[in-house]
Symmetry: C2
Subunit: 145 residues, 2 copies
Amino acid sequence: MLSKKTKYAIKALIVLGRNYGKEPMQILRIAEAERIPKKFLEQILLEMRNAGILYSKKGAGGGYSLNKAPEDIRLSQVMRLIDGPIALLPCVSLNFYRKCDECVEEGVCGIRDTFTDVRDAMLQILNDTSIADIINKEKTLALDD
Amino acid sequence: MLSKKTKYAIKALIVLGRNYGKEPMQILRIAEAERIPKKFLEQILLEMRNAGILYSKKGAGGGYSLNKAPEDIRLSQVMRLIDGPIALLPCVSLNFYRKCDECVEEGVCGIRDTFTDVRDAMLQILNDTSIADIINKEKTLALDD
DNA sequence: ATTTTTGTCTACTGAATTAATAGACATTGA
DNA sequence: TCAATGTCTATTAATTCAGTAGACAAAAAT
């Protein structure tokens, strides 16, 4: 499961993505729109700001905005930033590799082999889906109503 | 990430799968072979027994064995039994559906849409991979050494 | 019968993680 | 100078994870 933190992060990015090119948006507005606890959202936005995904401005008229085009923010990046590894086993993670504690011989592990495939299948989608893609998808879904 | 519990469960099933058709195997032997804490493994095996995946026999000469052919035990089944949902969002789970707390309109959620695809990609592999498949894969991997 | 060998079941526990909340601080704009 | 924002660190309650403990039950060996 994704943590709520990551889910909130993605939701915030979508809101900011729809606002791309306009005025910065305040934390409170995002929190209310997405029903996210404000103080919790503060932390999340800050983390993304420190990672260079968001831009922020203090004071009256301040707030947050995307620091990159919505096309250039991919789900895999957000998930790794907030939750860490995407892979289901540490020994299979591309960015957070760790040997499994109890593992005897990694090279001959059929579980590892299978979960490498699972990771690749997940990444094929998560690397390929941007915030812009999600926004567009929502437009399509709204039309189908 | 998979819990260690699920990883241990799969490892135990592989050992028992290699032993399929022979004498029951004792918990202690499995624990030592896979370097799993014995008392923890007890619980795991018991859970799989109560779910009908394993057969057990008490007393001298007793132990555990598979209650189904290794071909008929799929990773998705084991994962759901021990860890619960496979999907990354509750609102996308086939077997453990729950609405996301903060969700306003599920039908128009682009995140949900994307993570439905992720779930399907994962299940395509996890439904299709059996304990027998993993055992065979390990034979192949061992030859390549 | 009794003892030994196995699995069964329930309860407990310490550590880590999750999902927040709190509050003092820093900067910008009016 | 003050009001409106974001920044940063600490704290916390609840839950989950990973494991441990021990009394019990049943089957086999003696």
